[in-house]
Symmetry: C2
Subunit: 453 residues, 2 copies
């Protein structure tokens, strides 16, 4: 069934109804901000610092989604302050506004607190005149603010795009999602003109797509990213730098779905029912594969530190298993209270011999060393010659993947610092039906995995 | 234990004793040739053709090994004869010498017969003045003859080299061995000066070795072969063209063995005892692998036709099994009264799902076709996105290698014409211990295979 333009319009109207903040929400956010702003200005005054306070981010640009409970408040501090003083003032002001607030760490520390039900970050930055004078990444934010406001980007169109990307599972520039940031959504709407134009264009994005809103003339060559969107306020920066190839592909796929058959479901995809033990057993029987789950306590770090470490661990585990002859079908990671690495292989067990390919016979020095090493070894077959090289067949160290994963060899892999520390204090390895033990925590992730999402 | 020069000399003397034809052998060969020559000249005369008769090959050049029972006699026919007449005269003369001889086929037909216990080939060629006038490959032979005789290549040194290559299993330019032809051995001795110098040089042969005896200046670039030896009588031809990379590596390995520890065994390696069923079962248990043997009647063609077809069949079978997820450890072929293709794999059975990787999502047209094809297919998982591509998991056609080998799919592989015809009239597939059924015929080959030769 294909839908005509009026269907699309009706759906978008309904979505907008849902994602646009109500007048009441706007008023309440404004009041919360004003309270924070007032306290912050007072605190700056007490510190004797000539600074200013600004609402930034989507709240300031009126591109936020209804229900968002985040407010970003920036302290614009004089560039004369040295780094220590800058950090001290930032924390003092934050603490003065939120005596019970917590100190969070990005490029520098800042205070997070709560005001009228909103999560408020009070972030210090240098009040500079141009991005040429950048002292830290957050110093850019006020320029983004200004740019988007001056460009008069239509908030409703941005909200539609954000909600659409969220529906595709690719909204957010955090390192778990590696998707589209709010600023990227704003720039895309600004560049293409509307939600619909962005979607129409993205459905045709090919590799090497570069969007240069302000015509800075910087080409794709400067960046090795799947999508390049030059920051109008800083031509050295790709706003889409964090976007992964798969998140981009997923978004493109989503845009084509919309073009094919517009549906509200694309904005609100259903979360699958958690998988239960019977379903897992059924799936494994049908697939005839070998499933290995490694689980351990989540280290006490933020998601932006945890996920890259989990991904790194998974990748090096998969590479090592492949190197050991296991054909890995698919793998994934998840984290809640605990962390999970799931690897699915074609077979549980390999033969007891593995081929060890040596140097080409013609490369005399290396060839002689190899031959000498193995010639007298009773436990190997060979050396024989294959494709011009010496080859021996030797006993495989681990005939099952499980045996390798349970061995200390796993700590020789390239795994993240915090993941390693947590695994060193203990990790569980389960295979096949026994993996049902983690379904209570990861049932939805299993449902997604076996559903092929 | 290392040996000094006198050890080497003693061994070589003993080998020479063994491989040099005795005076009695020489006389008997000469007599056999003269009888043939006389009959052939008479027959030419009867045909009214102005031709000549020549002994060629190793017998003519005194580089033959004691025990060789082959004599090559060439009829040198006038270049004025057209092809039909040339062939007719060749066969008439052959039949006149050997009324009970058989007609064999190379580039053109010739007659093979027996004289005093020798196998004699009577081969017609054009009596030309220069290789520029070559009409067929055999026309080169008289030039080789002349070149080697004029160069006064030392027969004993050639005999040592031939016996040494035979010991390494790489003597012969037939398509089963793909090794060193007699002419190649002669040229190597001529170029390096002696058996020992050839061995010393070959131990260091690197890729791209080009030997240009007459300094024709033709470089490696013209040839894509592991070893290039420019034919002094025809610079367009690589005398080592048929030598395979593995035969070359084996020879180089053999030369280094000789340098390390000279031994008579290198000239007379022991054939292994045939493997018996118990040994096979033991080897398979130790290795834990999956062995598949395909056997069928040998088609009625010469080895030079059969072996390339068997190799081709083996290669395409291995490639297909690898494509289907089976990790092939090693494979080999053999032929006696029947043909054997042996494939050893790491595992017997794969999971029931296989990954089918589609086009990159960004390539819209292909991506859409793929997605449409699989989106509604209840039997696949996906399409999902991985590394920017659509991927589905579908049911594997054959979960065991045996099941594939037994299916008609094997006839879709690229297999030689005669092998295919023979397999079409029936082939047997055996796995693991059941392969013991072919040990009676191929016990030595199995012993070699499992011994890593």
């Amino acid at each position: 069934m294909s839908a005509d333009g009026s269907d699309r319009e009706r759906i978008l109207e309904e979505v907008l109804e849902d994602v646009s903040p109500s007048d009441e929400e706007r008023r309440s956010l404004r009041e919360a901000y004003e309270d924070v702003c007032e306290s912050a200005l007072e605190a700056l005054d007490e510190e004797g610092v000539e600074g200013d306070v600004a609402l930034v981010g989507s709240a300031a640009r009126d591109t936020w989604l209804s229900g968002d409970r985040d407010i970003d408040v920036f302290l614009l501090l004089p560039p004369e302050l040295d780094r220590d003083e800058f950090e001290r003032v930032g924390l003092e002001v934050g603490k003065s506004v939120f005596p019970d607030g917590t100190v969070e760490y990005a490029e520098h520390p800042y205070v997070r607190g709560t005001e009228s039900g909103y999560d408020v970050d009070i972030v210090p930055c240098y009040d500079i005149d141009s991005t040429d004078e950048l002292r830290s990444a957050v110093d850019r934010t006020p320029f983004h603010n200004e740019y988007i406001k001056e460009a008069e980007v239509e908030g409703d169109e941005v909200r539609l795009l954000k909600a659409f990307a969220r529906g595709a599972g690719v909204y957010g520039s955090d390192l778990r999602t590696r998707g589209f940031s709010g600023y990227l959504c704003e720039l895309l709407v600004h560049h293409y003109g509307s939600f619909s134009s962005v979607v129409e264009a993205a459905a045709d994005w090919d590799s090497g797509t570069t969007i240069d809103v302000e015509g800075h003339g910087k080409g794709k060559e400067g960046f090795d990213d799947p999508l390049v969107v030059i920051d109008p306020t800083d031509p050295e920066r790709n706003v889409a730098a964090v976007l992964s190839r798969d998140s981009l592909a997923r978004f493109v796929d989503w845009c084509r779905r919309w073009e094919r058959e517009p549906s509200e479901d694309l904005f609100y995809p259903e979360e699958p029912e958690p998988m239960d033990a019977d379903e897992l057993v059924g799936a494994l029987q049908e697939r005839g594969t070998e499933l290995i789950c490694v689980s351990f306590d989540s280290p006490d770090v933020v998601e932006d530190q945890l996920y890259p470490q989990l991904e790194k661990t998974k990748t090096s585990l998969v590479e090592e298993l492949e190197r050991r002859g296991f054909d890995v079908l698919r793998s994934t990671v998840a984290a809640n209270g605990s962390c999970l690495i799931l690897v699915e292989m074609n077979v549980a067990e390999q033969s007891r011999v593995e081929k060890h390919v040596g140097p080409p016979v013609r490369v005399r020095k290396h060839a002689e060393t190899f031959r000498e090493k193995y010639e007298e070894d009773e436990d190997v077959v060979g050396p024989y010659i294959e494709d011009g090289r010496y080859v021996v067949e030797r006993e495989r160290e681990h005939t099952t993947a499980r045996s390798f994963v349970e061995s200390d060899g796993i700590f020789d892999l390239s795994i993240g610092k915090h993941v390693e520390a947590s695994m060193e204090s203990g990790y569980e390895v389960r295979s096949n039906e026994d993996c049902a033990a983690v379904l209570e925590e990861f049932g939805v992730e299993f449902a997604r995995y076996f559903g092929g999402e």
